[in-house]
Structure formats: structure tokens, C-alpha cells
């Protein structure tokens, strides 16, 4: 039986393939953007660079969901909340970087606070001037929320559809809260009008490519981390909890601890995805907490295929690419297409695209075997 250590998770065949494709594609795009002149046919626009960066953030979010849903059987319909919280933490740092370049030119307060006639910075905004502190909060805020929420839910043995509903309620409640101006996160408009990150302009091509690379690094790192975890006894126990929780309990496992562990880690990964997403799209608003986002996320993972990790990444990128194309051609039909896709995948491809590919490969192999079997006769 395999107990992967970190090194094997990094160097085995699947990891090499995944990391090779990921970094290969990202580096080619980066070079074509930076080195090829803008009038050449081979030039990749900054828009495409940012779009790809966005996809990679979604892929990281999907990976985080696959860890809890695919491996632990927790169907979270509120993972968008952790993504948005990570995004807000990064957004707060970016707001502090604006300094006196805002519309009101107030060096102390962000524009929306000046507009609300606030005369000082709320206590929870302190510290976000520092990049390191913001990074810490990117992981800590979603992580702590997931820990507390999960501790209460798993300890009370809330499972299945009930858990899905309360995760949905969680993200909805956060959305309503963040819509309020008094909460101090920019209300309806959210945080936007960012200027620069670590002193580099967010509009510059170089910064955009760097953010793309950072997203790829985060995705690659998270992929290796998840592969490592799922290959250890912890991973196998988590899967056992997914398949027969009460049996695992009778074997002496505190299943709620295992679920909490995975749920918290997943929330932190989702927060990191959100933090990388915000500087690339240039805005974070309460709409990111919308329950619809979390449901879309579930569709990505279902389309790609659960409990494979790379399936979630493929699903996220494909569905979002489809969304980009579709919303360009006939925007009003997108939600119908998404719903149809979910139904189609649930009915015809319960294992997602990865499962379909595996089945086809297996069929081919048995055919080949049969041929080989027939030949000598």
C-alpha cells in the first residue's frame, strides 16, 4: 500500500504531467505576451493573460472543493464564501495601497469611508497596509471560519443535504452582511479602483504575467499538496469516512476531526484562490458571496470528475472557457446551458469527463486484449 511522502507526490508520473502542462502553458503564454511585439499574429494580449490567470484561480477553487466533496463526501454549497473572504483580505491590502490617489485624496481613509463621513479607520482595517499581514489573513480568516463552522456542524453530526443547505445559508448570510455599508467593506460596490501591488502597477503587463505565474504556482503547489495528503493514511481514512462514516467511528476514528481537518484546509486553499483572483480582475464585491457562484463551482467539479484532483482543474477551466465564449455569443442563455450541463453530467457522466476518458481507455484495452487473445487461435 502506498504511503506517499511529499517527494513522491511531487515526482510521480501524474504530478509531472500535470505540472508540466500547467507550467508549460503558462510560460509560453507569458513569453508570447512579453517578448512578441503587439502587432505580431503570435502575440498574446494582456486580456488573455488575465483571463488565463482567472481560470487558474477558479481551478484552485475547484481543487479545494474536490478535496472536501470528492474525497470526504462533504458537498459544500458555500465554498464561494471562503473564496470571497480571501479575496476581501487581499482587496483590503490593495485598498490601503491606493493611499492618497483616491478620488477624495484622503491619505488615511479609502474613498467609500470618506463618502460615508467616517473619520477614522475601523479597527479591523489596521494591519492591512502590510502585505505579509494581508497574506496571513487570506489564509486565516477563511480557515478560522471553516474551523468554527465545521466544528459545530460535524460535532452535531450534520451531514448530507442538511450540511449543504447550511453551507449555502452561510454564504448567503455573508453576502447580506457584506452588502451593508455599516460593515465597512464598501457595501454594494465592494472594493475596487486598485492601483498597485507591492509597488508594481496592476495595469502593467509584467505585473499581470507575474500574477499569472503566482496563480500557476499556487495551483501547482496545492495540487501536489492534495495529492500527497490523499495518498497518506489520512487521505485513505477521509475516503473511508466518505464511504461509511459510522463504520469508521466503530473502528475508533473521530470522524468529525478528519472532516474538520479537510474542510479547514480546503477553505484556506479557497481563500488563497480568492486572493489571487482579486488583483487580476480588479474588484471584489458582495456578489462573490452569491450562492449561485458556489453552485457553479460544484458544476465545474462534477463536469471534470470527482476525487481525481486533476478532473476538478480540467472541469473548472473547460466550463469557464465555455462561459467566456457563450456569454460573448448569447449571454442570456448561459444559465440555461449551465443548468443543462449539470443535468447532463449527473445523468450521463456521473464520474465526469475524467470518468468518461477512463471508461473509454478501459474499453479500448479490453478490445485490444480480446484481439490479442483471438490472434493465436
Amino acid at each position: 500500500m502506498r504511503h506517499s511522502d511529499f517527494k513522491t507526490a511531487l515526482t510521480d508520473h501524474a504530478a509531472k504531467l500535470f505540472l508540466g502542462v500547467l507550467f508549460g502553458a503558462v510560460i509560453i503564454v507569458a513569453l508570447l505576451n512579453l517578448l512578441v511585439p503587439a502587432d505580431s499574429a503570435l502575440h498574446v494580449s494582456s486580456y488573455t493573460v488575465t483571463l488565463l490567470g482567472k481560470y487558474l484561480c477558479y481551478a484552485l477553487l475547484a481543487l479545494a472543493l474536490d478535496l472536501v466533496w470528492g474525497y470526504c463526501g462533504i458537498l459544500s454549497l458555500g465554498h464561494g464564501a471562503f473564496f470571497a473572504l480571501g479575496g476581501y483580505a487581499m482587496g483590503m491590502y490593495l485598498m490601503r495601497q491606493i493611499g492618497d490617489r483616491g478620488v477624495y485624496g484622503n491619505p488615511e481613509l479609502p474613498d467609500f469611508m470618506v463618502f460615508l463621513n467616517w473619520d477614522q479607520l475601523p479597527w479591523y482595517w489596521h494591519g492591512f497596509d502590510h502585505f505579509g499581514f494581508a497574506l496571513l489573513m487570506v489564509g486565516l480568516v477563511p480557515g478560522v471560519l471553516a474551523f468554527v463552522f465545521g466544528w459545530l456542524a460535524f460535532r452535531s453530526r450534520v451531514t448530507g443535504v442538511y450540511l449543504s443547505i447550511i453551507t449555502q445559508a452561510l454564504t448567503y448570510a455573508l453576502m447580506l452582511a457584506f452588502f451593508r455599508n455599516e460593515l465597512g467593506f464598501g457595501g454594494n460596490n465592494g472594493l475596487t479602483d486598485f492601483k498597485d501591488i507591492l509597488g508594481f502597477s496592476l495595469q502593467a503587463d509584467g505585473t499581470r504575467v507575474a500574477l499569472l505565474l503566482a496563480s500557476a504556482l499556487a495551483l501547482g503547489g496545492a495540487f501536489v499538496l492534495c495529492r500527497w495528503i490523499t495518498g497518506t493514511r489520512l487521505g485513505r481514512t477521509v475516503m473511508a469516512v466518505r464511504d461509511a462514516e459510522s463504520r469508521a467511528r466503530f473502528l475508533g476514528y473521530r470522524t468529525e476531526h478528519y472532516k474538520l481537518w479537510v474542510f479547514t484546509l480546503s477553505a484556506v486553499l479557497a481563500g488563497i484562490a480568492g486572493a489571487l483572483y482579486v488583483p487580476q480582475v480588479g474588484i471584489i464585491n458582495p456578489g462573490e458571496f452569491s450562492p449561485l457562484n458556489s453552485i457553479e463551482l460544484v458544476v465545474w467539479v462534477a463536469v471534470g470528475g470527482r476525487a481525481t484532483l486533476y478532473g476538478a482543474v480540467i472541469g473548472a477551466i473547460l466550463v469557464n472557457y465555455g462561459k467566456t465564449v457563450f456569454t460573448g455569443v448569447m449571454p442570456e442563455a448561459w444559465l440555461f446551458a449551465l443548468g443543462g450541463l449539470f443535468v447532463a453530467v449527473t445523468v450521463f457522466l456521473p464520474q465526469g469527463l475524467v470518468g468518461l476518458a477512463k471508461n473509454l481507455a478501459r474499453k479500448k484495452k479490453t478490445e485490444k486484449d480480446e484481439e490479442a487473445h483471438h490472434e493465436p487461435a
Binding site: R233, M239, R247
Partner: protein
């Protein structure tokens, strides 16, 4: 025990002679939690255990003791309370009244399923419940006694010694050849054995075995009988089974349950000749 109100009745109740454990009820004496103490005469004490579901008494003042190293067979018609009794012992069901102690110190009615499993009570379920998406070997790894914490599971791989232990346990139940097959793909009998192997990996002091031979072939049944007899002595084993022939082949002591309480207890010979038993159980099945 709320019926007798008067002092004298209470006193009598407390010093009932058929109870080894009367004065040690929770509240009467602080029970030191933690380690199993098998110093007493019995390893499992169930006294006056009553469980009712919506007024139906699944267990009705059940009193039962198991000695260390004993192989005890429990029989009884459907609805006699056999499974409910196992649920009470493993913490799945809480009794309305009554005492249930494991060794001298562990109050099972106050412990979680996880704590009970860790304390040394292993259970093989009626319906074989293995982890279908894990291989046979991985199933044993999951069941293996030892620390069950998350960080331990993440950072400590299985040692060579544990690997040998798993392999030899698989060999004991004759599944070594199937070690890398998914448990879900095993035959029904193989799943039963795999589950017995899993219970063994827990190194339990007390094994609860619920209908071990359901769906087994004749050879498999013989093998299971040998296996269970081999386990007794080192472990205490409690077997619930319908198959009378099987019981006859392995049993020293048989307890007959009927309507939630003990109807008769003794050797197979005694039990079979007990007129009450013949009436409610054997009589039924032989007619």
C-alpha cells in the same frame, strides 16, 4: 431503578444478591475513566438494561455477564433484542435504565462509539460493512489498533512490522491472495472474513460477532467456526447467530434471549432441554 420508593426497598435494591455491581452505580462511587480494568470476574457487565422504542421494549431488564476469554453464543428469535444489545454495548444506542460496564471501570453508557472502540470492543456487523473503495489490505490498515489522530495519520506511514501483522491477519482469514483487490469486489463470504480480520486488527478484548456465517458455503462455515474457537481464550467473543448447527459446533455457553430479556443460559444441552426455550424458540424452528 425508580420503582421502590421506601428506604427499605431502596436498600434491598442496592444490595440485591444477584448483582455483582450494585454498589458501583454511577453516582455511588466515582468511576475512574480511562483504562480497562479486567481484574474482576467478568469483562462485561449488563444489568437491568432496558431500551424502549416508542413504548416497545427492545430490551427489558436484560442482565448478562461475560467472562474474560469466554466464547458466548447468543440466540433468540427475531426481535428478541440481540442487535439492540450489541448497539448498547457499542454505544450506538443509549439504554433508558440499567448499567453496562466494560471491565471494572468503563461505563459504556457514558462513552462515545469511538471511545468504546478504542477501549477494546470490536464489532462485526450483521451486514458485512467493509470499505468498498479500499483494497483488502487498506481495510486492515484502517482498522489497525493504534493512534487514530489526523496528524498521526498524515505523517506516520505504516511500519514494516505493522505491514507483517496485516499480512499475517489476512493470511489467518485466507485472504492474502486478495490483498490488493477492492473490498467491494470480494464475494459475500470473503467480505465477512475481511470484516473479521478488521475486528482482529483492532486488538479487541471483547469481540462482538453478529451473524458471521450468513451467506457462507459449508467449508467457509467450518473455517469460521475454527477461527472463532481459536480467538476465544485470548479474546472474549460474543457470537449472535441463527444457525443452530453452527452454534452447537462452537458453543460452550449459550444465552437465549426472548422479548428483550434472558430466557435461559447454560450449555447447549441444558438450553435445548429447557421447556421454556423449546416453547418459544426451538419448538418454533423445529415445527
Amino acid at each position: 431503578m425508580s420503582r421502590p420508593d421506601s428506604f427499605a426497598a431502596n436498600l434491598r435494591e442496592t444490595f440485591r444478591r444477584d448483582q455483582v455491581f450494585g454498589p458501583l452505580r454511577p453516582g455511588t462511587r466515582p468511576v475512574s475513566p480511562g483504562h480497562l480494568d479486567t481484574g474482576g470476574k467478568h469483562i462485561l457487565y449488563m444489568e437491568d438494561v432496558t431500551v424502549s422504542f416508542d413504548g416497545f421494549k427492545a430490551l427489558n431488564d436484560l442482565t448478562l455477564y461475560i467472562e474474560p476469554g469466554e466464547l458466548r453464543c447468543i440466540i433468540g428469535p427475531n426481535g428478541a433484542g440481540k442487535s439492540t444489545m450489541m448497539d448498547v454495548i457499542t454505544g450506538k444506542t443509549r439504554p433508558d435504565t440499567g448499567v453496562c460496564y466494560f471491565g471494572q471501570t468503563l461505563d459504556l453508557t457514558a462513552m462515545s462509539e469511538t471511545d468504546i472502540a478504542t477501549a477494546g470492543i470490536g464489532r462485526k456487523f450483521q451486514k458485512p460493512t467493509v470499505f468498498p473503495e479500499h483494497t483488502a489490505l487498506e481495510n486492515l490498515e484502517l482498522a489497525m489498533a493504534g493512534p487514530k489522530g489526523t496528524w498521526h495519520a498524515l505523517l506516520k506511514p505504516v511500519t514494516g512490522e505493522q505491514r507483517d501483522w496485516m499480512a499475517s491477519t489476512l493470511d489467518t482469514v485466507g485472504l492474502l491472495g486478495e490483498r490488493d483487490r477492492l473490498a467491494g469486489a470480494l464475494s459475500h463470504g470473503q467480505k465477512q472474513w475481511l470484516e473479521i480480520a478488521m475486528v482482529l486488527m483492532q486488538k479487541p478484548e471483547l469481540l462482538l460477532v453478529d451473524e458471521p456465517i450468513a451467506g457462507m458455503t459449508r467449508q467457509e462455515v467450518e473455517r469460521t467456526a475454527e477461527l472463532l474457537q481459536g480467538l476465544a481464550g485470548e479474546h472474549s467473543v460474543m457470537v449472535v447467530e441463527h444457525d443452530m448447527e453452527f452454534i452447537r459446533s462452537i458453543a460452550n455457553t449459550v444465552t437465549v434471549l426472548h422479548q428483550g430479556s434472558v430466557l435461559a443460559e447454560g450449555s447447549m444441552q441444558q438450553v435445548q432441554n429447557d421447556p421454556k426455550v423449546i416453547e418459544v424458540y426451538l419448538g418454533e424452528s423445529s415445527s
